[in-house]
């Protein structure tokens, strides 16, 4: 079925209320910490208090003698018994050498490399006993010099080397584009705009802290891991194949209700491995739930780029070439997809929505004594968008062009479009998104609003951002050629029951996205059922055939497409059964609205009759067709999808205090076909608040000398709250994706990708009259006030 036929089916585009809400609203959700297994023990991790230190000795004797304590595991216990945490993406440096890939031990081996590094695991009868014993584990550290800030890498003493494999803390130098052609274009440019900027480090802070229960059944030699995770099959694959060397059929990973992920729960973490392994050593279930303070130091962080960008233009402001250098902070170890974020997921997006014929991007990635950095809502694409959209607005300001004019002069206007940085955009309409955004934002009324603000002694600014992202990750062969060590398809199983209701098993995982509703709408639409007749199962390797999970806004476009393929198979088989029942030829049978008919006759049978016949095959072509109606499909996309849009922000700043208020925010997105507009709008809202949160509030700060995390609680790290925002204006444009059967593009990350530059461009627009030309996130009152003072 094609995307245009699909989008006209019943339930597609319907704002159906969510099937999952009742359990969440009545306290009946089942998150990992809500689960308790019989006779379970509790684990607490001893974590490094130092950013960088050698472990001279660990004495566990006193801790192990404490009441209720079963065992204290240290690096010595795991050494040689398991591998380290693997990195899922190999990046090759410009000189042809592979990235430096130092070991990432499950429990520290002789050294700790960031505050929060996992040193020992204490197992006891209760959490309190484990905590008390953890405090009694004596670790003798020899503190080494730490480097946490990219600016301090040059000139750091040799003792500041984190890993033997990387004596200068350099992981890789990677590049894309034709440098010689870019340099030649710059030589001929009428104008060059330059920009230095920092993309500040963030801490994901899903509201449910990470948690896991490792469990082992000696009778069957089977392991079960309950874990707050976005992709249980990937978790199992990485843990069994790369770390523990266990056969996959003996390990079941269950990701039950998960309280938000935002990327931070994609990864295989040391705690998950340690709990699974120790469950067998101690022959008991072991539970661990992170405290929030522990999440702050031990979850993978996001962003942390420092970049220099240059745009070459002709005299009319047409882009000729772009040159970018980025230093990326990877933290102390390579987390699961960390290496792809500042390269494949970043540099390939730097063409944006523009016809820039030549682009050259060079990335240096570094180890520092900080928590590992990995994918966080948007993963590379927010970093690209922030850089490009800040640069483009500056180009306009320098040439005396408005923010919309500089964009309109450079927009891509025909598709498919091959960018100079590897991607081929299949479809879009960037101008339509901007026009609609300008209308919704009442840009025409901005001048009057600015004058009103001025009259109150306030500075008002407007900021634009026209983002594009690559979602629906990914064609496995392309990802593999680029260094991915896994496939990136998705799997779906459609199980039609004898009475005609359906259970769908998907490899996608919902941790807030509402798949139980959206996927049910897809199946109901195709089979002519009501969504109540369709249940969706996810998050359990014991029930779902296979899966690559949810990240990169891929669920509907890859996971949904796999379900569509399974539905194709269901329809094909059901038509054969219907043909038999109606004594017609297969080719003459048509299926619509849940009914099979024979062309040119009034014969019909319902989907329910066919389902029953499949399982009660008394009158059935048993010689040609198996009984049953249960189909599985894998879908590997042929291209990425390219959601795009324009966001417009208006801020009002009190120059006396630096207080910056977002007064208006408008987002217009092209997500292609939309299954459930209520859910899509909710995804945009959430993304916007994370992006505006980065621009206004959030900032992860390590002490530059000691490497201590200074923003280690909700008292110190400014999370966005309800009173930080106005009501948003949201709109959509629809150009359906051309290469998947739904026409969908994905919507989970757009808000977080597009919004930060819109906010900061608005801040700069407001502060230009005061002489402020440079500004880095976040626009907290003190930083804005300081920028105003510095410009005086």
């Amino acid at each position: 079925m094609g995307a245009s036929d699909f989008s006209s089916l019943p339930h597609i585009g319907e704002a159906l209320k969510r099937k999952e809400d009742y359990r969440f609203l009545t306290g009946a959700g089942s998150y990992t910490d809500d689960i308790n297994l019989p006779h379970q023990s509790h684990a607490v991790f001893v974590r490094s208090p130092h950013a960088h230190a050698a472990i001279k000795s660990i004495d566990t004797a006193r801790a192990e003698a404490m009441p209720g304590v079963t065992k204290v595991f240290t690096g010595k216990d795991v050494e040689g018994k398991m591998g380290g945490l693997p990195c899922g993406w190999l990046i090759t440096s410009t000189d042809g050498t592979p990235m430096k890939e130092p070991p990432h031990p499950i429990l520290a081996q002789g050294k700790v490399r960031y505050v929060g590094d996992h040193v020992a695991m204490v197992v006891a009868d209760t959490v309190e006993q484990a905590k008390n014993a953890a405090e009694a584990v004596e670790v003798d550290y020899e503190v080494l010099p730490a480097v946490v800030d990219l600016r301090d890498l040059a000139g750091a003493p040799k003792e500041a080397a984190l890993h033997e494999a990387a004596p200068d803390n350099h992981c890789y130098k990677w590049a894309i584009g034709d440098k010689a052609q870019v340099d030649a274009a710059f030589a001929k440019a009428a104008h060059v705009t330059r920009l230095d900027l920092t993309n500040n480090r963030l801490i994901p802070n899903a509201m449910e802290p990470r948690a896991a229960i490792g469990s082992y059944n000696r009778a069957s030699d089977e392991y079960t891991l309950y874990v707050s995770n976005q992709n249980p099959h990937v978790e199992r694959l990485l843990m069994t194949a790369f770390v523990l060397g266990l056969p996959e059929h003996k390990v079941r990973v269950i990701a039950p209700d998960v309280g938000g992920g935002f990327g931070s729960k994609i990864f295989l973490y040391a705690e998950d491995v340690a709990l699974t392994w120790a469950a067998r050593q101690l022959n008991r279930s072991i539970k661990w739930t992170a405290e929030r303070s522990e999440s702050f130091v031990s979850d993978a962080h996001g962003r942390d780029h420092v970049s220099h960008a240059e745009m070459a233009m002709d005299k009319d402001g047409k882009f000729l070439a772009m040159r970018v250098h980025t230093d990326a902070n990877l933290g102390a170890y390579l987390s699961t997809f960390s290496t792809a974020v500042p390269t494949i997921l970043y540099a390939t997006l730097l063409a944006g929505q523009y016809t820039c014929p030549q682009i050259y991007v060079e990335v240096d990635a570094w180890f520092t004594n900080t928590a590992p950095v990995d994918a966080y809502r948007g993963a590379g694409r927010p970093e690209a968008t922030y850089l490009l959209e800040r640069l483009v607005s500056r180009c306009g300001w320098e040439l005396g062009l408005s923010q919309d004019e500089i964009r309109k002069r450079n927009f891509i206007t025909s598709w498919p479009y091959q960018t100079p940085v590897a991607l081929q955009y299949d479809v879009g309409d960037y101008r339509a998104c901007m026009d609609k955004a300008e209308q919704l934002a009442d840009v025409a009324g901005f001048a009057a609003r600015r004058a009103a603000s001025e009259a109150k002694g306030l500075k008002r600014g407007i900021g634009y951002s026209s983002y594009i992202e690559a979602c629906g990750i990914a064609p496995s062969n392309i990802a593999g050629a680029l260094g991915a060590r896994a496939g990136l398809f998705e799997c779906g199983e459609v199980r039609v029951h004898p009475t005609g209701s359906v259970t769908v098993f998907t490899g996608s995982h919902s941790h807030g996205q509402g798949h139980e509703t959206t996927f049910a709408q897809v199946v109901a639409a195709r089979l002519g059922l009501s969504p109540e007749q369709v249940d969706v199962v996810h998050g359990d390797t014991g029930r779902v055939p296979f899966g690559m999970g949810t990240y990169g806004s891929r669920s509907i476009s890859v996971g949904g497409a796999a379900i569509m393929r399974a539905l194709d198979k269901i329809e094909t088989k059901a038509k054969k059964i219907a043909a038999h029942l109606m004594e017609a030829s297969d080719a003459d049978v048509e299926f619509a609205n849940g009914e099979f008919t024979v062309k040119g006759t009034d014969k019909k049978v319902t989907f329910g009759q066919v389902a029953l016949t499949a399982y009660v095959p008394h009158n059935y072509p048993l010689d040609k067709l198996e009984p049953g109606l249960n189909e599985t499909a894998f879908y590997d996309p042929t291209n990425f999808t390219f959601p795009a849009g324009t966001y417009i922000c208006e801020v009002e700043i009190d120059p006396a205090t630096g207080t910056t208020r977002v007064d208006r925010f408008t987002a217009v997105d092209d997500f292609g076909t939309i299954i459930n507009p209520m859910i899509v709008e909710g995804q945009v809202h959430g993304g916007l608040v994370q992006g505006i949160g980065q621009a206004l509030l959030e900032n992860c700060v390590y002490d530059r000398d000691t490497g201590q995390l200074l923003t280690g609680s909700f008292m110190d790290y400014a999370m966005p709250r309800a009173d930080d925002f106005p009501e948003f204006k949201i709109g959509t444009v629809c150009t359906p994706c051309t290469h998947n059967p739904l026409g969908t593009k994905g919507c989970g990350e757009a808000g977080a990708i597009g919004s930060p530059p819109a906010v900061i461009n608005a801040v700069l627009d407001a502060l230009h009259p005061l002489g402020v030309k440079e500004f880095d996130m976040p626009a907290s009152p003190s930083r804005v006030w300081e920028a105003i003072q510095a410009a005086k």
């Binding site: 809400d21 969440f24 509201m207 303070s293």
Partner: protein
């Protein structure tokens, strides 16, 4: 020590160490796991319950301090036949939840908010929700849900 209170309309007794927080008594001793722990600094509000009709953060009080109190958790908000409280229904109707983790605390705060500030407008609602953090919804639909729940509670 033994602590007695009334939870969701029924007498409950727990035998807990004196330093047990109310939230742990609810989750671990009474198996009322709808009340969540999202932080360790009384900032996120995921553990909000009603104590004697007022919303409090159950991570910020000892179980022993609530001896004799009437406590309502998210499990006790719906009617016995499962029909949701108007505020729960409003959250579903307005898509005021995504991952659901902050939701129980958010709903309990919203119930308190509407009882004690029945005339609160959008700005005031946003300010009064300051003690509850949501990472998914961007608060847009939570504010709408509270407004709808407010009208429904006033009409009830």
């Amino acid at each position: 020590m033994q602590v007695q209170f009334k939870v969701n309309g029924k007498p409950a007794s727990v035998d807990v160490p004196p330093n047990t927080l109310l939230v742990h008594a609810l989750r671990e001793h009474l198996q009322l796991t709808g009340t969540h722990v999202g932080c360790d600094t009384a900032q996120c509000g995921a553990c909000t319950v009603l104590v004697n009709g007022r919303a409090i953060k159950s991570c910020n009080t000892l179980a022993a301090q609530q001896q004799g109190a009437e406590i309502t958790t998210i499990e006790g908000l719906a009617q016995p036949d499962g029909t949701m409280h108007p505020m729960q229904a409003a959250f579903k109707d307005c898509h005021g939840l995504q991952c659901g983790f902050c939701t129980p605390g958010m709903v309990m705060s919203a119930v308190d908010l509407c009882k004690n500030h029945p005339g609160a407008g959008e700005t005031e609602i946003r300010e009064l929700l300051e003690g509850n953090i949501c990472r998914c919804t961007g608060y847009q639909n939570i504010v709408k849900a509270v407004q709808q729940g407010q009208r429904a509670m006033a009409a009830a």
